[in-house]
Structure formats: C-alpha cells, structure tokens
Amino acid sequence: MTSTGGTENLPGTIVHDEIVPARAPWIHHVKAGETLRIVDTEGNQAVDFLLYSAADDTERYSAQDTVAAQGNIFLKDGTVLRSNEGRPMMTITGSAVEYHDTIGGACSCESNTLRYGHHTRSQHACVENFLEANLTEGRGKRDMVSNVNFFMNVPVEADGTLGIVDGISAPGLFVDLRAEMDVVVVVSNCPQINNPCNAFNPTPIRMIVAA
C-alpha cells in the first residue's frame, strides 16, 4: 500500500510535489520545458487528464489530432499530445506501462446512467471533477473534450468490441510528460467504482513537477 514511485531520474529541480487524494480533481500550470510526473501510487488507478494552452485556452488537447498524427490509438513513450490546431502540447518522455488510453473518455453521472443504470446517477464522476477544476479558471462545459486516461486499458478487438478492462499498471509506476508549451493541466483522479479501471478501489496519485 505504500508509495514506491518517487523522484528518481527526474530532470531538473522539483518545483511541485503533491498527493491528489482518491476521487479528487487537480489543476496546475506547467511551463514549457518542465516535466510532470504522474505516479500511480497504489496501482491500477485511472488518471483522467486534459490540457489547455495557458496563452489561449480555446486551444486544448485533442485526442483525435493526437491519434491521427501518430496513426495509432495508444499513447506510449514518445507520443506527442497534440492540440486541436495540431500543435505539440506535451510529449510522453517516459512510461513504465506499455500504453495509455485516449478513446474511452471520462465517466460522467449521465453516461453512468447508460452504462450501469440510473441508480449510479448520484455517484461522483470524472466530469464533475473536470468541471469543478475548469470553473475556477472560467472554463465550463463547452471546454470538455475527449481526454487522456493514464494507466487505463481500452483494447479494441477485431470485431470492434471495445471496453475498459483491468489495468496494466502497478503500485509506483509512473508516466513522465514534458511540456512543449505553457499548459494548464486538469486532472480527475477517477472515482469510478463500477468497472475495472480502478480495480474497483480509487486510490491517491502523486503529481511531481520538475523544472
């Protein structure tokens, strides 16, 4: 249960280090050239992730531009996270898991009613976290787009079957992202308890920024 992921091999000096509690949102500005490390402290924790350009937040992460540019739906070491204008926002500079998801989107109270039933409508969800964090800077529902799900596993089978399955992460594994422009990072530490993305047990994550 203890965190084993740490600060090893981070480039530069640590300028921010924070534990995000299970189920909570997180928003932070990361400057061009800085590296953000996300540590899955206890394993199998989905980290829902959005990016906005700090200079103009109508430019934001685009899952579609990202997968089209690399011709692959999986985000891996070396993947460039691109904006809706096709520009590089962050680059995955290290990943202890083989790949991450960007087609599964974020859970919401509303989509939970479809996937699991109307009894889940009152459960906390990632879109609630994204909205709460974005609203602190004047963004709202129009600013919600398809996100990254770090440490989440969404394979697509030959007949198109697609589903969130058990994670491929483990305690202490991490992903490193280098900012290619000044960005606003908005995260939901996923509270979902109705599918295997968090092993049915949401846990804390650690966010470290090195400059």
Binding site: V67, I73, N84, R87, L114, K141, N147, A158, T161, L162
Partner: protein, 274 residues
C-alpha cells in the same frame, strides 16, 4: 463596363440577371427530390442540398427528422458535429458513443450519444459501414503539410476551419468545435492500436440515414479524411436530404436494441417531459 459599374441600376440588372443559375453544389429552395423513400410525402421534405467538395453546411433539425446523406460520386467524407439545438453546450461525445455501446464502429442501429447521456441521432440505415469515430478532421497544420495550404479562403480548405464557420453560423465559437465523426470514410483499428484508413473511393450512391432523436444542430464539412493517403486533395460532392418523421415510439427496435441504448432514449424522453 465602367459605365455599368458606376450605375447602381445597371449593377442591379446585372445581379438580377443571375437569377435561376443552377450550379452543382447548391440547395434547392423549396426542397425537391424525386427519390424519396416509399411513404415519405414530398410535403415533408425540409432540406435538399448538394455540398461541394471542400464545402460545408449546417442546419437545425427537429426531433423525428430523417437526415439522408448520399456519397453521390463515391469519394465524399462528411465530418459531422451535432449539438442539442436548445442547449448547444450539450453535444456529440465520440468517447461515450463508442464506450457506452461497447463497440468502436458506426453502422445501422448504432446511436450517436451526447455528453449528457442522451441520444442525439440514431443510424437507421447504412449501406457503407466505412465510418470513423477516432481521427477527427483535418486542420490548418495538417493541410499545410499535405497540400501546401489549407485556408478557408484557399482551394484546399481544412475540416476544422470549415466546421468552425458552420458552427459560427449558429452563434457558436472556437471552444464549441468538438471531436467529430467522419461518415463514408472509415478506419479500422488493428490489435496493436494502429489505424488503417479506409478511404476508397467507393461505388457511387452509398447512403446513410440518421434520425434526429432531439432537436439538433448538425454541422458538416465535406473534406478529405485526415489520413487519406492520396497526395491530391480528393473529395467529391455530398448530397444531403432531410424530411419530417414521427418521434421514435417506445416500440422502436433501434430504441430497444440494447439496455444502454434504451436508457439513452429514456433520458431523451425525460428531457422532453416538460
């Protein structure tokens, strides 16, 4: 000619002399189509338009309206955005569309879901099956890299900028241009995650019919798929037809095909319970 340019009445005559000009890409007003399906009355036709290669269009459609798209010459690609007309902050969510239906591919019987757990449109007929929910459309940078330029004012307009203008006609802004789907040009996802584009060209006349399950604004750009491997800007006109139809009844087979879809319709029916 200078005499005419100096004379407003001559300019008026010149302008009025254009009346009745017919071009390939235009709307028919009032709409007229000689190939409506059996049982559809001509008086229920609401939209008949041919969208140019590289063009765009947008329109508000009432709940129950059928939207028929025809890949007239076999090389159209319709990048489609959908908004709830009453509340455009509710829009197509491509991630929920594939995740909730447990499938990556769009075909007859599938639903196009909003970010509010409701079905905006359903696919009631489709003989093409090559569609794409993953790649989105081109942008200024991709078209500049591929075709040398991609401006709205140029000859190789990019999809994102076309959708921006189409959305702006309904009061929407840059932040409203959401992830889109592509109709008629498809992708296949391989087991290693790689994306194989399926761009044809195909036989002319492939058809998809969508049913509006809510009052919606549709915005479409007809531009080459962003992963189209051909060097030239390759796209042909898109034919758009729409007619009024009944709101989906509780007995509808598409409504009841899956428990997830049934709940999406329950949410729509609840939304209109006013």
């Amino acid at each position: 000619m200078s005499d005419r340019l100096a004379d407003p009445m001559a300019a008026r005559d010149h302008a009025r002399a254009m009346a009745g000009t017919v071009v390939e890409a235009m709307a028919k007003l009032p709409p007229q189509a000689d190939d409506l399906p059996d049982g559809v009355r001509a008086t229920d036709l609401v939209w008949e338009e041919t969208v140019a290669a590289g063009g765009y269009t947008s329109r508000l459609l009432k709940r129950g309206t059928r939207l028929r798209l025809i890949d007239r010459d076999g090389d159209a690609c319709a990048a489609l955005m959908i908004f709830n007309a009453d509340m455009p902050t509710e829009r197509l969510n491509v991630a929920d569309t594939v995740k909730v239906q447990w499938n990556a591919y769009l075909e007859a019987g599938r639903l196009l879901l909003s970010d509010m757990g409701r079905v905006l449109m359903s696919i009631t007929a489709d003989d093409s099956t090559t569609h794409d929910a993953f790649c989105g459309t081109s942008n200024a940078a991709t078209n500049a890299a591929k075709y040398g330029e991609g401006r709205n004012s140029g000859v190789f307009p990019n999809g994102r900028d076309r959708l921006l203008i189409g959305a702006a006609k309904h009061g929407l802004q840059r932040r409203d241009v959401h992830p889109c789907i592509n109709l008629f040009k498809g992708t296949r996802i391989e087991t290693d995650g790689s994306i194989t584009p399926l761009v044809g060209p195909y036989e002319p006349g492939r058809t998809i019919v969508l049913r509006a399950e809510m009052d919606v604004i549709v915005v479409m750009a007809n531009v080459p798929h962003v992963l189209d491997p051909r060097e030239e800007y390759s796209v042909t006109p898109l034919r758009v037809t729409a007619w009024r139809g009944e709101v989906t009844p509780e007995s509808d087979p598409v409504r009841n095909a899956t428990p997830e879809g049934q709940r999406a319709f329950l949410n729509v029916e609840d939304y209109y319970r006013r």
